[in-house]
């Protein structure tokens, strides 16, 4: 007897299913809310109040996503201590990024710094992003489950491939004046999109 257990594939606990629904709801909800908020920002010229409200909304959704994702991983037996540390580091880095970005914009607009100080102020938003890159590196270094580590590396390579592809194609389009200029800081978001695609599709799984 197998005590009613499915010996073929993974067992999906009821809580896991609920958390999967919650995850989908949060992702869709975040996209819709951000879309509405962005339109409102442009249409009603909400300025700083709108920007801070959007930042708080993103923070709330992101926190919810991390918590739900962690709970789902725990319930399906796929949670690791390294993943927990990664989540906490990413949340901290996101908070630092938000403060650094808004701080740098405010200082730049209010004080118009020049020389070395201008470089220091312009560097502020990078700190949070660099901490995110550090968190990704630590996840691969600290993950003790070899299959999970293999998946992280595979997803990272997919993200890197996405970045190289988009940067190359966009770069030449830009060279021939076909598309607008995209700032270099877009590299990390493009990499993250590739990472997300790899994690949500069979491409990122061995």
């Amino acid at each position: 007897m197998t005590k009613g257990l499915d010996m073929n594939t993974a067992i999906e606990p009821a809580g896991g299913t609920n958390n999967r629904r919650k995850l989908i709801f949060l992702v869709v909800g975040e996209m819709i809310t951000l879309g509405i908020a962005s339109v409102a920002m442009i249409r009603f010229n909400l300025g700083w109040v709108g920007a801070v409200a959007i930042a708080l909304l993103v923070a709330a959704f992101t926190y919810g996503l991390f918590r739900t994702g962690e709970n789902r991983a725990k319930e399906t037996g796929n949670f690791s201590a390294a993943m927990g540390r990664y989540n906490r580091r990413m949340l901290g880095a996101a908070a630092i990024y938000t403060v650094g970005l808004f701080g740098a914009i405010w200082i730049h607009d209010a004080l118009h710094p020049t020389g070395a100080l201008a470089f220091v102020i312009a560097f502020l938003p990078s700190i949070g992003v660099l901490l995110m890159v550090y968190a990704m590196g630590r996840l691969v270094a600290e993950e003790e489950d070899e299959y999970q580590r293999h998946r992280h590396i595979r997803a990272s390579l997919f993200g890197l491939g996405t970045l190289l592809t988009v940067a190359t194609v966009w770069g030449f389009f830009e060279q021939f004046d076909l598309v607008p200029h995209v700032p270099a800081w877009a590299a990390v978001p493009v990499f993250a999109i590739g990472l997300g695609i790899a994690n949500c599709t069979p491409w990122g799984r061995p």
Binding site: T2, L5, T9, T76, G77, E146, Q148, P206
Partner: protein, 71 residues
Amino acid sequence: MNNRLKVLRAERNWSQQDLAERLGVSRQSINAIETGKYDPSLPLAFRIAELFALAIEQVFVSPTQHQSKAI
């Protein structure tokens, strides 16, 4: 790489989660190894074999042997 993990697990009434906990790996790892989507490292393969008190080749089927049998 083909293996007898599912059969060995079934003989002991262990779920994937039970086996994962005994080996200190994630349930996803067990699922990926069982379905042949992921080949474990040599240390993990030895741990699996030792857990079932079997030789490694009694758990995992050599890809070359598998090929020659097919021919």
